[in-house]
């Protein structure tokens, strides 16, 4: 009974969030809707006993990915009106895609062997921990696909850096090693000039100055 209500609450949250994502006029509100969707999806995962997946959804999607979205939205200058221009020409194509997707979902639901069953949550009995169960298969049966997935992600990361990185020579950067290794002689010249002769008078020629003159 309580799980049923929780299920209703979480699914309503998902629907509300998803509606906000597409309907919100302000992109910030849209991202907030997306976060709401993620949180409620995590709630559903936990309700169905996949607590590891649920918490990971919060950590990865809410804690990292959505923050990046928010960051980009906050820092770029968006013209909301321009964003909405060009909406009408794409409407028929969009509707077609939506209709196809809906038809597929309805067909799949009608022909699937799954029955409408009451919501079930895993009890606190001696079930194996999610992490243990996942680890058992992830590092044995699916070790190769797991590694390949890792490599693909790494490639994507390296690719993103290579594509966007541009070396900038006009920026002054701090070189900590150079700072720490700097000696007194490199920075300071001790002189005892005659009055009116200037700081680098010829009669005073310490090592540091001599080096610089040679170079």
């Amino acid at each position: 009974m309580i799980p049923d209500l929780l299920f209703l609450a979480f699914s309503a949250g998902i629907l509300l969030g998803a509606t906000l994502v597409i309907a919100a006029r302000n992109p910030m509100v849209g991202v907030m809707g997306m976060i709401l969707t993620f949180l409620n999806a995590a709630g559903l995962f936990i309700l169905f006993g996949a607590e590891f997946l649920g918490l990971l959804t919060i950590m990865v999607y809410v804690g990292a990915i959505a923050v990046m979205f928010l960051f980009v939205l906050m820092t770029i200058d968006i013209d909301y009106i321009k964003l909405k221009e060009g909406f009408a020409p794409y409407l028929p194509a969009g509707l077609l895609v939506v209709a196809l997707l809906a038809a597929e979902l309805i067909l799949a639901a009608a022909h699937s062997p799954a029955q409408l069953t009451p919501v079930v949550v895993v009890g606190q009995g001696p079930q194996p921990q999610n992490v243990v169960a996942l680890g058992q298969v992830l590092f044995t049966t699916y070790a190769l696909p797991f590694q390949i997935a890792g490599f693909i992600l790494l490639t994507a990361m390296v690719g993103a850096i290579v594509l966007t990185h541009r070396p900038r020579n006009d920026v002054k950067r701090q070189n900590v090693t150079a700072q720490v290794l700097r000696k007194r002689e490199d920075a300071m010249v001790l002189t005892r000039p005659k009055t009116g002769a200037g700081a680098t008078a010829k009669h005073w020629n310490p090592k540091s100055v001599a080096k610089k003159v040679k170079a």
Partner: protein, 372 residues
Amino acid sequence: MLNLYLTNILTPDNLWYLFITVLFILLIAVPVLIGMAMLTWFERKILGWMHLRHGPMYVGPFGLLQPFADAIKLMFKEPFLPDASSKFMYLLAPILIFVPALIAWAVIPMSETSQGVWVLANINLGVLYLLAISSLGVYGILMAGWASNSKYPFLGAVRSGAQMVSYEVSMGLIILSVILLSGSMNLTDIVHAQQGLWFFIPAFPAFVMFLVSILAETNRHPFDLPEAEAELVAGYNTEYSAMGFALFFLGEYIAMITMSAFTTLLFLGGWLPPLNVAPFTWVPGILWFALKVLAILFFMIWVRGTFPRYRYDQLMRLGWKIFLPLSLIWLIITATCVKLHSENGVQPPAPADVKALDQSSEANPVSLGQAA
């Protein structure tokens, strides 16, 4: 239909369960809130002594009632709503900071007696829960900065967001090495695994990195760039006044206590006494726990009194170029050592156990309604 639902849910058993849970929540939340109030006094007093001042001393004995006077003052201030702000998000932001800070305490075990562990929810993924909750705190800050529609809060919010995301990565890796050492993600089990040897001794480099990371994660000195007074007025909370401002403050200081408690559980043996012999074991566990949390809080304030503020590029360099590689190397070292001494770490289950695991995962899941 609705009537049926209500009669099924509002059974005496369920109501009693609800009542007990709320009571437990209050038992945890009220001391945490009072502790937060006292922490502000503690910080001002310690900083005062470090500056050769007295700190608060007029309200109550030793100025002990100063935080409550401040709270009353803040409650009666005018809540100011900037005209250009996005009203809903502006009001939501302080709540989004305060709530995650408080709900993190649901999984923190504080002591253990013969009756059991003092914790609201002893879940198996306690560490992961804490990480997930602490990553939510950044939203309140980002929203506050954006909704205020003002330059300084905006800059503070962007800084804070980048900072928290950066340090979460290496924090996660350090925590992973502790999980490897203890072989569990359950905070209670992690403390039990430290019986005899607290993890800060074998994992000292990780302990030091974690201490620095929690300073950055809670936006404390010397990493308090989001609210650097000299550059940003007050950072993301510049436009806030009255209780909105108070909630930011509450959330920040509770996050400090939470992170100190987390460090205590991961590295300092939680409620365990330093030596398992007579005079130490007479002291109840909750006192040891409080003492260790207080020690880390003192460290955080000590750092504030000692170090100058980092520059922003230095902060990012420390996070990404130093802490991330170091914590990765530390994770590899830990994993190798644990593998070599596998009796301390994760045990590969015997083949018979694996079969049992497979079966039990499919076997009759119990619905919560039936169980209740």
